[in-house]
Amino acid sequence: MSVFIIRRLMQSALVVVIMSFIVFSGVFLVGDPVEILVSDDADQEEREMMIKSMGLDKPFLVQYGIFISKAIRGDLGDSFVFQEPALLLILDRMPATMELAVVALLIAIVFGIPLGVWAGLKPESLASKSIMTGSILGFSLPTFWVGIMMILLFAVVLGWLPSTGRGDVQIILGMPISVFSWDGFSHVLMPAVNLALFKLSMVIRLARAGTREVMHQDYIKFARAKGLKEQRIILVHVLKNILIPVVTVLGLEFGGLVAFSVVTETVFAWPGMGKLLIDSIGLLDRPIIVAYLMIIVFLFVLINLLVDICYSILDPRVRLQDIKS
């Protein structure tokens, strides 16, 4: 097991290094931040001072080298706009994004698995067909449009829920969290549902496909031949089998949730790191963009690692192979 983890850690480090190069060169290619940051009436000398101070006069590879050597020490550069460390700026907003993503994930799991299993057990029923139609909508309607419609309906027309911001926050484990107060919860609900819709649809489809497949397996028939009650067959024999793909995919998709929250945060003015990213892109604030992308890369790599470990706990067959290797 530990050999397996060490090998996976080394692979992860390699991925981070490669991604850092791609991210850095990608951001290097788009736009010239000087154009935006320097005032229009600045003369050539001021411009060059500016370029020098930001280190933009050096060749690309040198810039990348400097970036890497600093990054190793945890310094992802200072924001051009705020003149503060980019990493701190992002980490400051991370709890808001994480909270949104976690609540969305929970919504996707808590509603997705039962609905999917139900649809898988009774594929011909009307309820099941409606669930599947709903999941197609969840997949295909653009998140921002659904978000705007939700605001229109629940905030503007019905006035049930607030449309922007985080509401009351409480400091829990040093992080500001909204969900634990009613006001905060009412603020999280709409953006979280909006962010969850896509994953919810995915969980429903996965759970349904898994259920349909598992129900036809001989071991389910054998479980019936043992005289087990239907509820035990579904809650133990079926669920444990479909949890493996669902957990894997959901785990892997958590990074996607965080990344996707950019759209939701913008629509609901949720003060998370996605909103910071969008603002920074508008200002071509390179260090923030790079730092954000690096954090996302890091997150994906970390999640992959955790999913592999969870997977090996859930699926005994994987566990054995790891011990052997």
Binding site: D218, Y219, F222, A225, L228, V236, K240, R317
Partner: protein
């Protein structure tokens, strides 16, 4: 027949059809047999002849698009065809259990062996986990699994095919059922283990009075194990009787073909006889006798479906031109 002698299971004119897109597959079409306490019935036939579907019908486990469309299955006089799903669940695993054909697929891959055995006990009686585990352990030992304590904590993938089948057999035996349907349970095992399991099961049945339906296409297994034999062809029983009389003097051309295609010591060097042709598709059964196109004794009469005729010693044959009919008396009822 007095009540105490009434058979454990009596199947009467059972019809289980599959309503598929391509038409109706009459997988079991008018099958009748009975098995008494402690008796073993061998159910033989080629692949696709309806053996497994017969077994599933008895347990009430026929899946869509299949359905029992006629007949009776009397378990100690109670008709299972009209029994409620709850009643069937009560009976399954306790009174009637089944060992499935493919040992690699019958155990849930993500649940430990102890979970899968203990739940089989707890589904039917309130028994503590520890007591249930103890029972599971004992039965595993009975089917020849060494160090059962350790084995109980294993997952199915840590077992070979033969070991899994023993576990499945152990699960079938757990609640000491009155009737076991064993669907080719030893096909996946090597010959020595096969012999050992056959011996164990046989001993158990005679000790506890369990009736056994042993499904196989291996006539040599049936010869050593069964009391009676039913030969199935395309969903119908074509010949039945006591093992000795059927194997000594087969009267249906299909049974005869099956017997001549079994390798035997007496015929060393002589090429094995093969039944020509292939088993027919249930969706396109030949007109008249379904064995007709492959039968060397075909006559004009065979254009109509033969009825069952009774012969001495309780033998039944479904054929217009039974072999050796001159030497075996036909009884009319």
């Amino acid at each position: 027949m007095s009540l105490s002698e009434s058979p454990t299971i009596e199947v009467k004119d059972l019809k289980t059809y599959f309503f598929t897109k391509g038409g109706i597959a009459r997988a079991v079409d008018g099958v009748s047999f009975s098995v008494g306490r402690g008796k073993v019935l061998g159910l033989v036939g080629e692949s696709g002849s309806g053996k497994t579907v017969t077994g599933f019908s008895i347990l009430g486990l026929v899946d869509e698009p299949g359905r029992i469309v006629g007949g009776e299955i009397l378990y100690r006089g109670e008709n299972l065809v009209s029994a409620s799903p709850d009643r069937m669940r009560e009976l399954r695993g306790v009174n009637i259990s089944m060992i499935f054909q493919d040992p690699m697929m019958t155990l849930n891959p993500v649940l430990r062996i102890d979970t899968q055995m203990i739940e089989a006990l707890q589904a039917h009686e309130s028994i503590s986990k520890d007591d249930a585990r103890q029972r599971a352990r004992d039965v595993l030992g009975q089917v020849g699994i060494a160090s059962p304590d350790e084995r109980l904590r294993s997952y199915p993938h840590q077992f070979s095919g033969g070991m899994r089948q023993r576990v499945a057999i152990a699960i079938a035996l757990l609640n000491k059922p009155d009737l076991i349907v064993a669907d080719e349970p030893t096909t996946a095992l090597d010959v020595t283990i096969q012999g050992q399991i056959l011996y164990e099961v046989q001993k158990l049945c005679s000790q506890t009075g369990t009736a056994l339906i042993w499904i196989t296409h291996d006539l040599s297994v049936v010869a050593g194990l069964a009391d009676d034999i039913c030969v199935m062809y395309a969903g119908r029983i074509v010949e039945q009787g006591s093992v000795n009389s059927v194997l000594d003097k087969p009267m249906h051309p299909y049974t005869d073909g099956l017997i001549s295609s079994v390798p035997s010591r007496n015929k060393r060097g002589v090429p094995l006889a093969q039944i020509p042709g292939m088993a027919p598709s249930l969706l396109k059964l030949p007109k008249g006798c379904s064995f007709g196109p492959r039968c060397a004794h075909f006559s004009n009469a065979c254009d109509s479906i033969p009825d069952i005729s009774n012969y001495e010693n309780g033998r039944q044959i479904r054929c217009h031109n039974p072999l050796g009919a001159g030497t075996t008396l036909r009884v009319t009822d």
